[in-house]
């Protein structure tokens, strides 16, 4: 499904800033909030893995039913290494990458595992 990706701060993400080495970090950040109708359309339920992709790349995260719906066609990911696999580095010559309003695609990927950040970084950057 085509969607517009928004990334940003959530209170849960903010609460684990000092604890990025904990499991809570993955739990709070490696997610994608979807509109309930969109979830129905995709045939997924809360907790299923989804693949989010954009011109910049792709990432697997857990689907979460949005509490800030309705916003059909808009998906939301908390800022962090998972979201940044798919945000756009385009700064339009002002320094600011495109963290919001990124054209993206979301699809079910129930058989995929959500990586922790060391796994994700190792796989992406080889370091």
């Amino acid at each position: 499904m085509k969607a517009t990706l928004i990334t940003g701060r959530t209170i849960k993400q903010g609460m684990v800033i000092e604890s990025k080495d904990s499991a809570m970090y993955t739990e709070a950040n490696a997610i994608c909030e979807l509109d309930p109708d969109d979830m129905k359309k995709l045939g997924i339920s809360e907790g299923d893995t989804v693949r989010v992709s954009s011109a910049s790349g792709e990432v697997h995260v857990r689907a979460v039913k949005s509490l800030q719906a309705p916003h059909r066609g808009i998906i939301f990911m908390p800022m962090g290494p998972w979201a940044n696999m798919v945000t756009s580095p385009e700064t339009d010559s002002v320094g600011m990458p495109s963290f919001k309003g990124v054209p993206a695609e979301v699809e079910p990927a129930k058989d995929k595992r959500v990586l922790t950040y060391p796994e994700l970084l190792k796989e992406t950057y080889g370091k």
């Binding site: 940003g8 209170i11 609460m15 990025k20 940044n84 600011m96 950057y125």
Partner: protein, 434 residues
Amino acid sequence: METHTDVICPFCGTLCDDIEVQVEGGRIMDVLNACKLGTAKFMSMNKKHRPLKPRVRGENGFEETTVEDAVERVARMLVEAKKPLLYGWSTTECEAHSVGIELAEEVGGVIDSHSSVCHGPSVIAIQDVGYPSVTLGEVKNRADLDIYWGSNPMHAHPRHMSRYSRYPRGYFRERGQADRTVVVIDVRKTDTASIADKFLQVEPGGDYELANAFRAALNGVELPDEVAGVPKKDILQTLDIMKEAQFGILFFGVGLTMSPGKHRNIDCAIKLVADLNRYTKFSIMAMRGHYNVTGFSEVLTWQSGFPFGVDYTRGRPWYNPGETTSIDLLTRGEVDACLVIGADPGGNFPRRAVEHFARIPTATLEPHETPTTYLSDVVIPTAIAGIEVEGTAYRMDAVPLQVRRFMDPPEGVYPDREILKMILDKVREIKNGA
């Protein structure tokens, strides 16, 4: 048990200064008045696994080392680089900024902060069209209309509404909430929108159009039936609320700066506010995120003349967003070393930028483990400003406060400013020796 009052919370730009912290035996027992975000930061002091020793990347992963050795490695990295980037600064005190800027001058590097990836576009807009603003106490005492646009304080600045805007009683607003109207404009019905008196749901990327529609209508232009997903009726109604307010304030967040249009969205919002001053008192304020992101732009501006993205490679300060800003420098592969202070670009920069970061020599001053420390070649744990270090921080409205020290840093862990000073001294030593 010691009780520390009037503690300033070193988390977000709201910079609440009424926190009470109870400490016993080096552990935080209780935190009063703080929000979830602030409480989590204070309570994280009790974590068992806090890295205390500097570490360097060896053949088999990280190896522990001494502060002296780590400092020397960082100094060499900076001296050997043609164009190092010194990035971060928003979660440390201004005294550290000051040393950092001198270091950037000394090594001929680029110094940049979180502004670049949060409210940089707001700063650019301010440079284009100005910034009619006020301090937050003015809002508390006078405002009868608070607008939050592209900002979700319930998540990002949880006490903003209770301290300054919607809830408090003020000198001219004795009834508090009953005297005030809250309007939220966002692409989703956020938790902030849910408690607003009026919510306008704008299409993603439609902020510029909507702001322009407000301005157009204010200046007597007929609107189409709908603009950016918002019905004309709602736009006109909201505009009336604005014009009829005695004192209005528009708080805007990164919902405007990070969306298509970027600084142009803010340009338009600022012009709208300036126009509204023909009818009533109206002001605007950027909801700055990190607790001292404002402080860094203040210090860098008074010292260099420019607020972020300052390039010293030619010995003089040079500022040109899009050229001298971190994301551009990294994605174009223009910097050949990076020192990070109190920031997490490894987690919060887009992938293409991090790819270059992972390729070049990097060092990080950071108390915790983060994606950035994971990717760095040298990591020096530092003391935590606002808890273990006192120093200046600037609130989102640029009000300066001195954050407090009420705990001792662990043995051998130094404040950022001291580590930076050691690096600066070492850099001079290396340069003079060569």
